[in-house]
């Protein structure tokens, strides 16, 4: 049993807003749902499967009701920022099993307008909550150890932000459109050692949505055919404190599973959407996915190697979380959206990868330095 080629992404939508104090969170979900359904050329009555995560107000069933959907398959898998990559894989499973034929996946929220509600405590709460793990210092701990073990430098990490900024200059919706240099990154204030302000992504309101469907339905619609050919998901945590190693992520498991199912290798990939909550997130995931060997991510990302038209692996050509947006502090959805744009040939001409027929969208959710999930999707233009 495989999901290879069983599910097509027929509709995509990214909310143009980056700051939405005048809208409700449920409204943003509805607006991105409407956008993706219309992009596919379908109507809301066609949707028979719905997927959402912790950002959906009230969770799954209030959202299904609010959106007025009549569904026969539902999934509210919650794994932070990579929830939507997992939803895409689960939607493909449901479609392959005949449980639904047109699945809607939505993400939306407003962390720039107001504070996000705290996430529910796990069994570890008494033993960790007091120590103040945040995104910044949890990823800082990973970067600190990566530098210690492999000699990775702040200059190398800065190249990731530089590449993102080169792409963001062409995105009219990007929050940060100025091209920056390695020196700009190194001269930005230290937030949590060794990460500078420019090693961190933006905080933005907004959202995005996908329509996932069968081959038959996708071929009856008008959009270029983009299908999922490999998917992987995994989870990593301290697990009792044995053999702690913060220099790799759960991508070491989700990546190979996705590549194996797809029957392709990292060398075949023409475009990569890689979650970029921080520069170190990108570097570790490129290693974990096999684009370079463990410890060599610093050399791999340096000298513009991630810039479209310049380097070997164009990444996050919308400017990514580092420059464009990071709706709900979750990066998985926007990673899929830009990968689909690249495969459709709808990316900005200045960053469009020529003949882009194979792409990866990968992300993590949770805290890389504490416990997190990862999910990998391999997408193909037919």
């Amino acid at each position: 049993m495989t999901i290879k080629g069983k599910a097509y992404i027929a509709g995509i939508y990214e909310h143009p807003t980056r700051h939405a104090p005048d809208k409700s969170t449920a409204q943003l979900h509805a607006e991105v749902a409407k956008g993706a359904i219309e992009d596919a050329g379908l109507s809301n009555a066609d949707v028979d499967g719905y997927f959402c995560a912790g950002d959906a107000p009230g969770g799954l069933w209030p959202m299904v009701d609010y959106l007025g959907l009549k569904v026969r398959h539902m999934d509210s898998t919650e794994t932070g920022g990579c929830s939507y990559l997992i939803h895409l894989g689960h939607a493909a499973e449901a479609i392959a099993a005949g449980k639904c034929s047109i699945a809607l996946i939505t993400l939306a929220g407003k962390p720039r307008t107001g504070a996000m509600p705290p996430r529910a405590a796990g069994a570890e709460a008494d033993f960790e909550a007091a120590y103040g793990a945040t995104t910044h210092n949890a990823y800082g701990m990973c970067a600190m150890r990566h530098m210690h073990d492999y000699g990775t430098t702040s200059e190398q990490l800065a190249w990731i932000k530089v590449a993102a900024s080169h792409h963001a200059q062409y995105n009219p919706h990007a929050m940060l459109k100025d091209v920056v240099t390695v020196e700009d990154v190194l001269n930005s204030p230290m937030i949590s050692d060794p990460l500078h302000r420019m090693d961190c992504c933006v905080v933005s309101d907004g959202g995005g949505a996908l329509i996932v469907t069968t081959e038959e339905i996708a071929k009856s619609l008008k959009k270029p055919l983009v299908r999922l050919i490999g998917h992987g998901e995994a989870m990593k945590g301290p697990r009792g404190g044995k053999d702690l190693d913060l220099t790799y992520s759960a991508g070491v498991w989700s990546g190979p599973r996705a590549f194996e199912e797809a029957g392709v290798t990292p060398k075949d990939i023409k475009y990569a959407s890689i979650y970029d909550s921080f520069t170190i997130t990108v570097l570790m995931q490129l290693e974990d996915l096999g684009f370079c060997r463990k410890g060599e991510g610093g050399k791999f990302v340096a000298d513009g190697n991630l810039i479209s038209g310049v380097g070997k692996l164009p990444f996050n050509t919308d400017g990514g979380g580092l420059c464009s947006n990071h709706p709900v502090n979750r990066g998985g959805m926007t990673k899929i959206l830009e990968a689909v744009r690249q495969l459709r040939g709808e990316a900005h001409p200045k960053v469009q990868v020529p003949n882009c027929d194979l792409a990866i969208a990968h992300g993590t959710g949770g805290l890389l330095g504490v416990r997190h999930a990862a999910s990998t999707c391999i997408l193909e233009r037919v």
């Binding site: 793990a133 701990m141 050692d193």
Partner: protein, 129 residues
Amino acid sequence: MSEAKTYPAPVTNPETAPFWEAAKAGKFMIKRCTACGEAHYFPRSICPFCFSDQTVWEESSGEGTIYTYSLMRKSATGPYAIGYVTLKEGPSLQTNFVDCDLSSLKIGQKVKVVFKPTAGAPLPFFTPV
């Protein structure tokens, strides 16, 4: 400095209450599985490695080394250093480093446990030796 900070009292539960009772007596406890021999932290009733229920409390030396850290330069309660310590007994755990010059922390540095009061049981932290 971290001394001025107030920390939340542990909620505790039947599974972890012995840890917090020992902490009140200044003892830092870990769990060890008598089936597979592995120590773990934070404490569980079922071993996370072999799933045996034959886990027992053991007093840790409270000594270890810094695996990694990150100094948060600003927060509502001032700068603080989060990190992981690898205990002599094996398990690594998340903590804050206290009672020291936060700018001089190093990976591999030797540290020991120190308890800080809360409104309930005291919380374990680590400080360079």
